[in-house]
Assembly symmetry: C2
Homo-oligomer: 176 residues x 2
Protein backbone atom coordinates (compact mmCIF):
# COMPACT_ATOMS: atom_id res chain seq x y z
CA UNK A 1 0.00 0.00 0.00
CA UNK A 2 1.40 3.39 -0.99
CA UNK A 3 1.63 5.85 1.81
CA UNK A 4 0.77 9.56 1.81
CA UNK A 5 3.67 11.24 3.62
CA UNK A 6 3.91 14.83 4.85
CA UNK A 7 7.64 15.36 4.51
CA UNK A 8 8.59 18.94 5.31
CA UNK A 9 11.22 21.18 6.87
CA UNK A 10 10.00 23.22 9.83
CA UNK A 11 11.32 25.45 12.58
CA UNK A 12 11.34 24.37 16.22
CA UNK A 13 8.25 26.53 16.73
CA UNK A 14 6.55 24.57 13.92
CA UNK A 15 6.49 26.95 10.97
CA UNK A 16 7.15 25.76 7.43
CA UNK A 17 7.72 29.27 6.03
CA UNK A 18 8.42 32.64 7.60
CA UNK A 19 6.01 35.58 7.61
CA UNK A 20 7.04 36.44 4.04
CA UNK A 21 6.44 32.86 2.91
CA UNK A 22 10.21 32.32 2.53
CA UNK A 23 12.37 29.37 3.49
CA UNK A 24 15.83 31.00 3.46
CA UNK A 25 16.17 30.10 7.15
CA UNK A 26 16.52 26.40 6.29
CA UNK A 27 20.16 25.53 6.91
CA UNK A 28 22.23 23.63 4.36
CA UNK A 29 22.75 19.98 5.21
CA UNK A 30 25.09 18.22 2.77
CA UNK A 31 24.53 14.91 4.57
CA UNK A 32 20.92 14.73 3.39
CA UNK A 33 20.63 12.82 0.11
CA UNK A 34 17.82 14.71 -1.60
CA UNK A 35 18.08 12.55 -4.70
CA UNK A 36 17.35 9.43 -2.67
CA UNK A 37 14.52 11.26 -0.90
CA UNK A 38 12.89 12.36 -4.17
CA UNK A 39 13.27 8.87 -5.55
CA UNK A 40 10.93 7.47 -2.87
CA UNK A 41 8.00 9.30 -4.45
CA UNK A 42 6.33 9.36 -7.84
CA UNK A 43 3.48 11.70 -6.98
CA UNK A 44 3.32 15.13 -5.31
CA UNK A 45 0.27 16.63 -3.61
CA UNK A 46 0.21 20.38 -3.10
CA UNK A 47 -2.08 23.28 -2.38
CA UNK A 48 -2.48 26.20 -4.73
CA UNK A 49 0.01 28.46 -2.92
CA UNK A 50 2.74 25.85 -2.99
CA UNK A 51 2.01 25.13 -6.64
CA UNK A 52 2.15 28.79 -7.63
CA UNK A 53 5.43 29.20 -5.75
CA UNK A 54 6.95 26.21 -7.53
CA UNK A 55 5.54 26.33 -11.03
CA UNK A 56 7.93 29.02 -12.30
CA UNK A 57 11.07 27.23 -11.12
CA UNK A 58 10.38 23.51 -11.02
CA UNK A 59 10.14 22.76 -14.72
CA UNK A 60 8.39 19.44 -15.11
CA UNK A 61 8.23 18.96 -11.33
CA UNK A 62 11.15 16.52 -11.48
CA UNK A 63 9.14 14.10 -13.57
CA UNK A 64 6.59 13.46 -10.83
CA UNK A 65 2.84 13.30 -11.19
CA UNK A 66 1.43 16.44 -9.53
CA UNK A 67 -2.01 16.89 -7.98
CA UNK A 68 -2.94 20.46 -7.04
CA UNK A 69 -5.83 20.83 -4.59
CA UNK A 70 -7.72 24.00 -5.42
CA UNK A 71 -11.24 25.29 -5.84
CA UNK A 72 -10.13 28.23 -7.99
CA UNK A 73 -7.61 26.94 -10.54
CA UNK A 74 -9.06 25.75 -13.85
CA UNK A 75 -7.79 22.45 -15.20
CA UNK A 76 -7.54 23.78 -18.75
CA UNK A 77 -5.12 26.52 -17.66
CA UNK A 78 -2.76 24.01 -16.00
CA UNK A 79 -2.42 21.00 -18.31
CA UNK A 80 0.87 19.87 -16.75
CA UNK A 81 -0.85 18.95 -13.44
CA UNK A 82 -4.12 17.43 -12.23
CA UNK A 83 -6.34 19.98 -10.49
CA UNK A 84 -8.41 18.36 -7.73
CA UNK A 85 -11.40 20.42 -6.66
CA UNK A 86 -13.65 17.73 -5.12
CA UNK A 87 -13.81 14.12 -3.92
CA UNK A 88 -10.25 14.33 -2.59
CA UNK A 89 -10.84 11.56 -0.08
CA UNK A 90 -12.06 8.93 -2.53
CA UNK A 91 -9.43 9.91 -5.08
CA UNK A 92 -6.63 9.54 -2.54
CA UNK A 93 -8.02 6.28 -1.15
CA UNK A 94 -8.02 4.92 -4.67
CA UNK A 95 -4.47 6.15 -5.37
CA UNK A 96 -3.21 4.51 -2.17
CA UNK A 97 -4.48 1.13 -3.35
CA UNK A 98 -2.88 1.35 -6.81
CA UNK A 99 0.69 0.21 -7.39
CA UNK A 100 3.39 2.89 -7.27
CA UNK A 101 5.85 4.71 -5.08
CA UNK A 102 4.83 6.74 -2.05
CA UNK A 103 2.88 9.99 -2.38
CA UNK A 104 4.47 13.19 -1.10
CA UNK A 105 2.22 15.69 0.64
CA UNK A 106 4.56 18.44 -0.50
CA UNK A 107 2.76 21.38 1.09
CA UNK A 108 1.48 23.44 2.53
CA UNK A 109 -0.02 23.39 5.99
CA UNK A 110 -3.62 24.00 4.91
CA UNK A 111 -3.55 20.94 2.67
CA UNK A 112 -2.11 18.90 5.54
CA UNK A 113 -4.91 20.19 7.79
CA UNK A 114 -7.56 19.14 5.22
CA UNK A 115 -6.11 15.74 4.40
CA UNK A 116 -5.46 14.93 8.07
CA UNK A 117 -9.13 15.54 8.79
CA UNK A 118 -10.04 13.20 5.93
CA UNK A 119 -7.80 10.41 7.27
CA UNK A 120 -5.59 10.74 4.20
CA UNK A 121 -2.18 11.23 5.84
CA UNK A 122 -0.15 8.16 6.80
CA UNK A 123 3.05 9.75 8.11
CA UNK A 124 4.36 13.11 9.33
CA UNK A 125 8.09 13.55 8.72
CA UNK A 126 9.36 16.93 9.92
CA UNK A 127 13.00 17.92 9.48
CA UNK A 128 13.27 20.28 12.43
CA UNK A 129 15.65 23.13 11.61
CA UNK A 130 17.47 24.69 14.61
CA UNK A 131 15.74 28.04 14.54
CA UNK A 132 12.85 29.82 16.25
CA UNK A 133 11.03 31.85 13.59
CA UNK A 134 8.60 33.57 15.94
CA UNK A 135 5.83 33.56 13.34
CA UNK A 136 5.01 32.37 9.83
CA UNK A 137 3.04 29.67 8.06
CA UNK A 138 2.24 26.88 10.49
CA UNK A 139 3.12 23.20 10.04
CA UNK A 140 -0.52 22.54 10.98
CA UNK A 141 -2.94 25.48 10.92
CA UNK A 142 -5.43 25.72 13.73
CA UNK A 143 -8.05 24.49 14.44
CA UNK A 144 -7.26 20.86 13.76
CA UNK A 145 -8.36 17.68 15.50
CA UNK A 146 -5.89 16.14 17.97
CA UNK A 147 -3.99 13.17 16.54
CA UNK A 148 -1.69 10.83 18.40
CA UNK A 149 1.48 9.88 16.55
CA UNK A 150 3.91 6.99 16.76
CA UNK A 151 7.60 7.81 16.36
CA UNK A 152 9.10 5.38 13.88
CA UNK A 153 12.54 6.81 13.23
CA UNK A 154 14.86 9.72 13.94
CA UNK A 155 18.07 11.09 12.49
CA UNK A 156 20.25 13.90 13.78
CA UNK A 157 22.45 15.76 11.27
CA UNK A 158 25.66 17.79 11.78
CA UNK A 159 23.78 21.04 11.01
CA UNK A 160 21.49 20.37 13.97
CA UNK A 161 18.58 19.32 11.80
CA UNK A 162 16.52 16.64 13.58
CA UNK A 163 14.56 14.52 11.14
CA UNK A 164 11.67 12.70 12.77
CA UNK A 165 9.25 10.23 11.27
CA UNK A 166 5.87 9.48 12.79
CA UNK A 167 2.90 7.43 11.70
CA UNK A 168 -0.48 9.06 12.28
CA UNK A 169 -2.62 6.96 14.61
CA UNK A 170 -6.26 6.33 13.64
CA UNK A 171 -8.61 8.82 15.35
CA UNK A 172 -9.99 6.11 17.67
CA UNK A 173 -6.53 5.78 19.18
CA UNK A 174 -5.96 9.51 19.18
CA UNK A 175 -8.42 10.69 21.80
CA UNK A 176 -6.69 11.97 24.92
CA UNK B 1 27.69 30.96 35.14
CA UNK B 2 24.17 29.79 35.87
CA UNK B 3 22.02 29.25 32.82
CA UNK B 4 18.39 30.19 32.31
CA UNK B 5 16.82 27.14 30.66
CA UNK B 6 13.38 26.84 29.05
CA UNK B 7 12.69 23.18 29.76
CA UNK B 8 9.18 22.22 28.67
CA UNK B 9 7.04 19.48 27.16
CA UNK B 10 5.39 20.40 23.87
CA UNK B 11 3.45 18.82 21.03
CA UNK B 12 4.96 18.34 17.56
CA UNK B 13 2.98 21.39 16.45
CA UNK B 14 4.66 23.36 19.26
CA UNK B 15 1.96 23.83 21.88
CA UNK B 16 2.69 23.56 25.59
CA UNK B 17 -0.96 23.25 26.61
CA UNK B 18 -4.15 22.45 24.74
CA UNK B 19 -6.98 24.92 24.09
CA UNK B 20 -8.28 24.34 27.64
CA UNK B 21 -4.84 24.98 29.12
CA UNK B 22 -4.50 21.28 29.99
CA UNK B 23 -1.52 18.94 29.64
CA UNK B 24 -3.29 15.56 29.87
CA UNK B 25 -1.98 14.75 26.38
CA UNK B 26 1.58 14.42 27.72
CA UNK B 27 2.38 10.71 27.63
CA UNK B 28 3.90 8.93 30.61
CA UNK B 29 7.58 8.22 30.27
CA UNK B 30 8.96 6.14 33.17
CA UNK B 31 12.49 6.39 31.72
CA UNK B 32 12.66 10.12 32.49
CA UNK B 33 14.18 10.75 35.91
CA UNK B 34 12.21 13.79 37.04
CA UNK B 35 14.00 13.86 40.38
CA UNK B 36 17.35 14.26 38.67
CA UNK B 37 15.85 16.89 36.39
CA UNK B 38 14.44 18.94 39.27
CA UNK B 39 17.75 18.64 41.10
CA UNK B 40 19.52 20.61 38.36
CA UNK B 41 17.63 23.74 39.34
CA UNK B 42 17.26 25.81 42.48
CA UNK B 43 15.14 28.61 41.02
CA UNK B 44 11.94 28.64 38.96
CA UNK B 45 10.76 31.51 36.75
CA UNK B 46 7.10 31.61 35.81
CA UNK B 47 4.39 33.87 34.51
CA UNK B 48 1.23 34.60 36.42
CA UNK B 49 -0.90 31.98 34.66
CA UNK B 50 1.58 29.20 35.35
CA UNK B 51 1.90 30.36 38.96
CA UNK B 52 -1.84 30.43 39.53
CA UNK B 53 -2.17 26.96 38.00
CA UNK B 54 0.54 25.58 40.28
CA UNK B 55 0.06 27.41 43.56
CA UNK B 56 -2.83 25.26 44.74
CA UNK B 57 -1.05 21.96 44.17
CA UNK B 58 2.67 22.52 44.42
CA UNK B 59 3.00 23.18 48.14
CA UNK B 60 6.32 24.88 48.70
CA UNK B 61 7.26 24.59 45.02
CA UNK B 62 9.54 21.64 45.81
CA UNK B 63 11.79 23.83 47.91
CA UNK B 64 12.83 26.02 44.98
CA UNK B 65 13.10 29.78 44.92
CA UNK B 66 10.23 31.06 42.76
CA UNK B 67 10.09 34.30 40.78
CA UNK B 68 6.69 35.21 39.33
CA UNK B 69 6.70 37.79 36.53
CA UNK B 70 3.52 39.85 36.76
CA UNK B 71 2.33 43.43 36.59
CA UNK B 72 -0.86 42.67 38.50
CA UNK B 73 0.02 40.43 41.45
CA UNK B 74 0.90 42.24 44.67
CA UNK B 75 3.96 41.04 46.54
CA UNK B 76 2.23 41.26 49.93
CA UNK B 77 -0.45 38.79 48.80
CA UNK B 78 2.13 36.20 47.75
CA UNK B 79 4.83 36.06 50.42
CA UNK B 80 6.02 32.57 49.38
CA UNK B 81 7.36 33.88 46.06
CA UNK B 82 9.13 36.91 44.67
CA UNK B 83 6.89 38.97 42.40
CA UNK B 84 8.89 40.68 39.62
CA UNK B 85 7.09 43.58 37.98
CA UNK B 86 10.02 45.55 36.52
CA UNK B 87 13.74 45.47 35.74
CA UNK B 88 13.54 41.78 34.81
CA UNK B 89 16.60 41.99 32.60
CA UNK B 90 18.99 43.44 35.17
CA UNK B 91 17.63 41.15 37.89
CA UNK B 92 18.19 38.06 35.74
CA UNK B 93 21.64 39.19 34.60
CA UNK B 94 22.58 39.58 38.24
CA UNK B 95 21.14 36.18 39.19
CA UNK B 96 23.06 34.51 36.38
CA UNK B 97 26.34 35.81 37.79
CA UNK B 98 25.68 34.64 41.35
CA UNK B 99 26.60 31.14 42.47
CA UNK B 100 23.86 28.52 42.36
CA UNK B 101 22.22 25.86 40.26
CA UNK B 102 20.59 26.56 36.93
CA UNK B 103 17.40 28.60 36.64
CA UNK B 104 14.30 26.97 35.18
CA UNK B 105 12.10 29.04 32.90
CA UNK B 106 9.17 26.92 33.98
CA UNK B 107 6.49 28.59 31.84
CA UNK B 108 4.66 29.71 30.04
CA UNK B 109 5.16 30.80 26.47
CA UNK B 110 4.56 34.52 27.04
CA UNK B 111 7.35 34.64 29.62
CA UNK B 112 9.65 32.83 27.19
CA UNK B 113 8.73 35.36 24.51
CA UNK B 114 9.57 38.27 26.85
CA UNK B 115 12.80 36.85 28.23
CA UNK B 116 14.01 35.74 24.80
CA UNK B 117 13.61 39.33 23.58
CA UNK B 118 15.64 40.51 26.59
CA UNK B 119 18.48 38.07 25.85
CA UNK B 120 17.72 36.24 29.10
CA UNK B 121 17.30 32.67 27.81
CA UNK B 122 20.37 30.45 27.45
CA UNK B 123 18.82 27.18 26.35
CA UNK B 124 15.58 25.82 24.89
CA UNK B 125 14.93 22.20 25.88
CA UNK B 126 11.68 20.87 24.45
CA UNK B 127 10.50 17.35 25.18
CA UNK B 128 8.49 16.77 22.02
CA UNK B 129 5.48 14.57 22.76
CA UNK B 130 4.22 12.44 19.83
CA UNK B 131 0.95 14.26 19.29
CA UNK B 132 -0.51 16.96 17.06
CA UNK B 133 -2.77 19.14 19.23
CA UNK B 134 -4.12 21.30 16.42
CA UNK B 135 -4.31 24.35 18.69
CA UNK B 136 -3.49 25.56 22.19
CA UNK B 137 -0.95 27.66 24.04
CA UNK B 138 2.14 28.10 21.88
CA UNK B 139 5.70 27.21 22.86
CA UNK B 140 6.61 30.69 21.59
CA UNK B 141 3.78 33.16 21.02
CA UNK B 142 3.93 35.33 17.93
CA UNK B 143 5.34 37.81 17.08
CA UNK B 144 8.85 37.00 18.26
CA UNK B 145 12.24 37.82 16.78
CA UNK B 146 13.96 35.03 14.83
CA UNK B 147 16.68 33.25 16.80
CA UNK B 148 19.12 30.70 15.51
CA UNK B 149 19.73 27.74 17.82
CA UNK B 150 22.54 25.23 18.25
CA UNK B 151 21.53 21.64 18.96
CA UNK B 152 23.61 20.38 21.88
CA UNK B 153 21.98 17.07 22.75
CA UNK B 154 19.09 14.76 21.97
CA UNK B 155 17.43 11.79 23.60
CA UNK B 156 14.71 9.52 22.26
CA UNK B 157 12.49 7.70 24.76
CA UNK B 158 10.40 4.50 24.39
CA UNK B 159 7.18 6.52 24.55
CA UNK B 160 8.27 8.42 21.44
CA UNK B 161 9.18 11.55 23.37
CA UNK B 162 12.12 13.31 21.69
CA UNK B 163 14.02 15.50 24.12
CA UNK B 164 16.12 18.14 22.39
CA UNK B 165 18.49 20.67 23.89
CA UNK B 166 19.53 23.82 22.08
CA UNK B 167 21.55 26.85 23.07
CA UNK B 168 20.13 30.17 21.91
CA UNK B 169 22.58 31.97 19.61
CA UNK B 170 23.20 35.68 20.22
CA UNK B 171 21.01 37.88 17.98
CA UNK B 172 24.03 38.91 15.85
CA UNK B 173 24.40 35.29 14.79
CA UNK B 174 20.67 34.80 14.42
CA UNK B 175 19.90 37.00 11.41
CA UNK B 176 18.92 35.00 8.37
Amino acid sequence: MRRIRYQVACSLDAYIADLDGKTGWIVDEPAIDFGALFDQFDTLLMGRLTYEGLVKDAAGFWGKTVLVFSHTLRQEDHPQVTVVSRDAQSLLQQMRSLPGKDIWLFGGGELFQSLLALGCVDTVEPAIVPVLLGGGRPLLPTPAVQHRLTLTSHQVFPSGIVWLEYTVNPPAESSA
